[in-house]
Point group: D2
Chain length 296, copies 4
């Protein structure tokens, strides 16, 4: 995928994939798309994309193929099933999985691709629909360095920044670390909001003060107001946040890293699940902190 | 201190007080200053300030006096000692204590001032030397509303934003809540940095990724690099951070607010104290998370 | 109170005090009793006790006086009020406060007694009504060693074991340490019972298995069955348990002792208070662990 | 294995297995033994045991076979390897695995045995060498109820009590729950001992006071003195305790059980591992609580 070629396959046209493939087209890439429900390809075709009938067909046609699938099982299916990526991957062809999957899934795909002589990087992203549309994703790539370098022109279109993080699995690990910090911070905000309210302070004032200081951050600014209004429309479901904290703690366990704050946050998210809040936004952990009665 | 008057007393010319009094002078206020070591007044006098020989003399001269003192004992001494504020405070005079003190200290001063007919607000600030010089402090005022409103012209010079938070004590409480959240976040960052390192990720990459995402904040950006370099020059001493977490947890205890993440963070700061790190920067809590050996 | 004399004053005839004074009478002590409601002395008088009209009168008559009062304010009142202990305490007279009070209260009483030449020990007990009746209390004495030694004959009647713990305040501290461990253990049991139930195990089986192993203890045996039955009749109110955990953590804070498990347990007791369970037995912390829903 | 028969196979003659098989012989059972190192069978043969050349040979000869192996891999190997249990198991034959293994291992063995028509229970024990020799084990059996009932005469010889806990896996789960509670209690004791010492109390007094009260238990009595002497000769290695806490927390995670105290204890055990204490006794978690310096 040297700059002169700018040809790429693209598997998976969900909310993220569609926005990303559209960006590639807009920036002069020739894109061959595939989606399980083929009708979702229509809009891309109107914008100049070609269609591949199967993942294998896309890989056969393109030197380099990007995938953006909804979950680990979809990521595995596209590679291993009949008419899947494995049937055509070979020496000289690259496969870039930008789906968010666990390290195990990524490893399995990596082994299968490379054992057939193919090249592989995982490249999960930070950022959702809007950054995807705006080409403002943050890309956490790991795997074969040469393929990463080949992919830079595409990554420059898709994201505001890409990182090369070393061996396969490191992209997934980096996401876990970031999400673990985020989960602890969400608990810190929740505790602060409740402490403010019960102490006679206006929680809206707290949000304003926070936003003017050294710990001001977009998440507090975005989630704080909806939390005060007990609104937890799921941008990132709580049960997924808790799963990531569990996996981050397990990663720490392998190397004897004691993380008492993350552990306490994890238990709070579990408590939220036990209250039936697992499908709401992860900010619903706020509910676990609220004071129910005051009598003693 | 209506706009037409713009006359104010100022007690305490430490790093913060000097910057603040200078700002008032620059913005057209007539300022009468006092400092325990009177020689520290010289520079202010060159810039147009008058000198008061004692706190009482300043209060006698000025309708409204601001204090910015180093700690609760200094704040109490300036009010209650011989030649102190109390000797001249009376109906029609206002006293604004912008020092960072605990709620008890603030209450004592409030009672003494108001029992003599004086007017009082506490107005602790968020921000240190640089924001003080730039008039970019955040001011957390509480106490008599009328005095707060009178003080707005001065606050507009000293800070980028001022809040009126209700009854005396609420300024101190708001600082505790903010510092509690900050302490939990510092632990979250520490745990993330160690988890990254032990998992084969570059902690500098983690800082870059964090800075591009939803939880990007000035503290991570400022402290992260020095932590990776094990440098803990004390901007905010760890023992003070731990004291604030203890007080915040105690505030929660009064109203039965369970805050497991702040409690875990508090214990980590205590651990750091037990390692002899209390006088270093609060980011030295990082040392408590580090893995010492790996053998089992 | 050498063996030959065996004469003692006794202030406070509540449930505990009455049982203790009765035991002293039964074992050959001459006892002069006082109680705020004097009618409560009748039964003791039938058993051979004399009556003192006031605490001062008791102290005047007896070389050594024991007090067993309901709380710190009663303990202070008996000493400092009109007709109180202080009016007659003097060189050669001893005062033994066996009430459960905080270290501050104990120190105040100690200072007042000793500044008048009197002798003082605090001697809080472990054990409630039944052990008091059976002379099976555990006595945690601290203060003047000579008075402790003089009191041993009485302590041998009242308790199965007495400890001399050093300076005044150490009795209260020892109780805090024990109660802190107890509070963490109660949480451990609560978590285990819920984990068993949700994992398809019978919690009654868990209690049986626990009782046969290395961690078998009377508290698990006594509280386990009532917890499974959601019965929390208050033997030791949860709010008092939480207060003791708070004080124990504060004691640790003074010396930078990080106690993450006690801190987590303390937050769980706070959560229970926030659910309105503060007046129930401390085993009601079990309610905070229960799983409410399972859907995600 | 009805009472009249009292014939049983026994696989594995380590410390535990040898004691158990010896007990069966002493109590009138005809026992056919096998051990990977056959020479270890000699002593049993002197006491009247027969030898089986392979696990398969033992199963062929006996209606019911007990296994007591060192770890999951040994437990799997004896069943699945050449000349293993599976080669002879069949309808009418029972297999009782008393090794301590995880639920997965137990399930695999169960499926293999029952798919060949055999009968299976897992029956891990609580108790080590001495209780095994004295027939004082606690047996946590789960699996086919009929086989459990058949095994009762043997269990009565081996243990002071046996429990039937339902489906396969429940024996392992019960051990996890018990060990989780034990791990939290060990942390509670560690924190209490350090708090006592730093507060001017004698930790030996604390142990005495604990042993006289409602939370007295054999573990405190046994481990407390060695902890005070910083002696951690490994009876139960810390890394295994931490693994059990991890697995117990994972079990809770499946059902959204929030267990903040166990989670805090788990992080303390991880901290101990990070200090290189994983191979010492689990009471070495005490080292994580100790205060290193006091200056601030």
């Amino acid at each position: 995928m040297a700059v002169e070629e700018k040809e790429v396959g693209f598997l998976g046209l969900g909310i993220m994939g569609k926005a990303m493939a559209t960006n590639l087209l807009r920036n002069g890439f020739k894109v061959t798309v595939w989606n399980r429900t083929l009708s979702k390809c229509d809009e891309l075709v109107e914008n100049g994309a070609s269609i591949g009938e199967t993942p294998a067909a896309v890989v056969k046609k393109c030197k380099c193929t990007i995938a953006m699938l909804s979950d680990p099982s979809a990521a595995l299916s596209v590679v291993f099933d009949k008419d899947g990526v494995l049937e055509q991957i070979c020496s000289g062809k690259g496969y870039i999985d930008m789906s968010t999957v666990d390290a195990d899934t990524s490893s399995k795909i990596n082994e299968a691709i490379t054992s057939r002589g193919g090249h592989f990087i995982e490249a999960p992203v930070s950022g959702s629909k809007k950054p995807a549309e705006d080409g403002q994703l943050v890309i956490l790539a790991a795997g074969e360095k040469a393929l990463y370098e080949e992919a830079i022109p595409a990554f420059n279109v898709l994201g505001k920044r890409s990182f090369y993080l070393g061996q396969v699995g490191n992209g997934a690990k980096m996401k876990l670390v970031v999400n673990m910090i985020m989960g602890s911070m969400m608990n810190a905000l929740s505790e602060g909001l409740v402490l403010a309210s019960t102490s006679g302070l206006d929680p809206w004032n707290l949000l304003d003060v926070l936003d003017l200081g050294a710990i001001a951050n977009p998440m507090f600014k975005m989630k704080g107001p909806t939390m005060i209004q007990n609104s937890y429309s799921p941008a990132f479901p709580l049960k997924h946040q808790q799963k990531d904290m569990r996996l981050a703690l397990a990663l720490g366990d392998e190397n004897a890293v004691s993380m008492p704050v993350a552990a306490a946050a994890n238990e709070a998210f579990k408590k939220a699940r036990s209250m039936g809040l697992g499908d709401l936004d992860f900010s619903a952990v706020f509910e676990t902190v609220k004071v129910l009665q005051h009598q003693s």
